[in-house]
Amino acid sequence: MSDVVMKASDLRREYHMGGELVRAVRGVTLEIARGDYVAIVGPSGCGKSTLLNLLGGIDRPTTGSVTIEGSRIDQLSDAAATRFRLHHIGFVFQRFYLMPALTAIENIELPMAEAKIPRDKRVRRGRELLAYVGLEARYGHRPAQLSGGEQQRVAIARALANKPQLLLADEPTGELDAKTGTEMIELLAQVNRDGTTIVVVTHDEDLAGAAHRVVHMRDGVVVDDRRQR
C-alpha cells in the first residue's frame, strides 16, 4: 500500500447562495501521507470546512477528485460513500453531535453496530476506547450528563470505533475552554501517535501547532503548506 492515504486533485466546490455563485474551494490539490497529522487553518469563510467535507465524502466536489486508499470517493454512490466512511473515516465535529438519547458507550457502539460487529465485541471495544479517552467510569452516562470536554472525548472514541485509517476533525476544540482544549490536543496527538492519520480544521493555534503539517487557506485556495516537524 502507498504511503499516501489520501489524495485530492484540483478540488473545486461551487454553490449558489442567495442568488450568488459562491466558489468555496477553488482548485485545491493535496496529498496526505499515512500517519500524518495535518492542520488546515485560515480565516473564517476561507473554505477550510468545505474542503474537509469534500475530503471526507460528505460533500461532493464540483470538479476534481478525492482518492482515499485507492478509492475515488467522489465517484461513489451515496450508499457506497456512506459505507466507505463507516469503515475508513472517523469524524469529529465542533459540536460533538453525540446521540443525546444514548449513553456514552452506546454512542461508541453505534458505528460498530452499523458495521455488524457482534454485541460482546462492541461492548469490549467500547470500554477499551472509553478507557483510552479517559472516561471508563462514564460509560453509562448520557451526553447531557457529561461536560463539553467529556462529550468531545466520547466523540473521538466514537470516531475511532471502526479503526479508521483517517480521522477528520472540524474545529474539535471550538466549543471547549482553554484547559479542556489542551487536553483534547494531547488526546488527538496520542491518537496520531498510535497510527491514525489526522486532518484537522481549526482556528486554534495550539491545536495547529501540535500538527506535523499546516495548510493555510485563503479564499478557497491553499496559500501555504509547510511541515512543522
Binding site: I58, T82, R85, F91, Q94, R95, A101, R158
Partner: protein, 398 residues
Amino acid sequence: MLLRLAWATLTRHRSRTLLAILGVAVSAAMLLDMVMLSSGMRASFRTLLLSRGFQLRLAPKGTLPFDTDATIPDASGVMRVLRTIPGVTTVSPVLGGQLHIVRGARTIAATALGVDPAVQGDYEITQGRAPASPLELVASDDFLRASGARIGDTLSAASGYDAQLRSFSGQRVLTIVGRAHFLYMPAEQRAVAIPLATLQQMQPGPATQNRDHVSLFMVKAREGEPVDSVLRRIETALPRVSAISTETAMRQVDERLSYFRQLALILGAVSLAVGFLLVTTLVTVSVNERLGEIVVMRAIGVARGRIVLQIVIEGIAIMVSGALGGLGLGLVTARYLNSILASFPGLPAAIDFFLFEPHDAWFALGLLTVAGILAGIYPSWRGASLPIAVTLREEAVG
C-alpha cells in the same frame, strides 16, 4: 442498536410520547369500535337468525316476517305442502298477535306468539317447562315483572278489547308454566308464547270465520342440502308466500341499518386519519429536532435506510402501543355505545351492534401499523436525505 436508539429517543421525551400514545389509543379505540360496528351487526344478526337452526322463513307474498299485519291463510294446507318438499326437515308455524292480560283492575298488553312448542324456534326456556296443553303459556321476564305473576299462576287473557262495549273478546284462562327468553324480541318487550291453535281460536271475529292462518313459517333444511334449492322448491310449490333465506334477511338488515355501517366507515377513516396525523406530526417534529443527529449518523457511516427504519420504528412503536391501549379502551367504549344502541326500537335485544371478534382487533392493529409506517416514512426519508455538509452548517448556525 436500532431498537435501542428508537426506544431511547421515545423515552427521552416521556410526556410527549405518552400523550401521543394516549391520542393514538383514543383513535385506535374509536377505530376498533367502528370496525366492530361495521361487522358486528351483521355477524350478530346472522348468529341470531341461525341460532335455532332455521335457515328459511316464509312470510306472506311481498312482505318480510312480522313487517306487516298480513298473514298466510290456510296454514294447515301450507304445512302439508311444505312437509312434502324434499330437503325440508322441520316446519315451525308462528302467529303473532296481541293479548290483553287482566290482572285485578289492571290490563297488561303483551305480544303473543302462537307456536308449536315441539318445534318452535322463537324462545328458549330459562325456567319451568314448555306448554304441554292448549291453555298453558310461557312468558318473558319483562312480562312476569310487569304483571307480578309467577310460574304456576293462572291469568285471564283476551285477544281483543272492544273499546265501545268495554268488553274483552277471545278470552281464555291460561296457566304460566315457564319463563322464556324470546330470541327475536326487542328489549323490555312483554311477551308470551302459547300453543298456535289456542291463539288462532282466540282471534276476534265471527265464530264461522276461518282462523287457520299464521304470520310466518320457519323452515329447517336437511343438513348438506343447499338452502337455495330448498328455497326454490318452496317458491315453486307455494307461489303465495315469500321464502326468505338468511342471506336475504341479512340484505334487508343491511339496507335498514346501512346508516350505521356507513357511519362506521366514515368515523373509522377519521380516527385512522387523526392517529396518522398525530404520529406524522410527532415524527416530523422529532426529525426536525434531530436533523443534526441524523446527518451526523450519516456522516459516521450509518446507512440512510437504517436511519429511516429507526425513525419508522418510533412511529410504529407509538402506533402499536397506542393500539394496544386502545384495544381495552375500545372494548369499554364499545360496551357503552352498545348499551345506547341496544334500546333501538324494534330490534331484537340479542343483537349486538359491537361484536368483538379477534380479526377486528388484528384488522385495526394492522391499519394502525400501516398508518404508523406511512407516518414515519416521509419525514424520516426527508431527514435522512438532507445534504450532510449543508445541514451541519445550518445546524451549527441554528
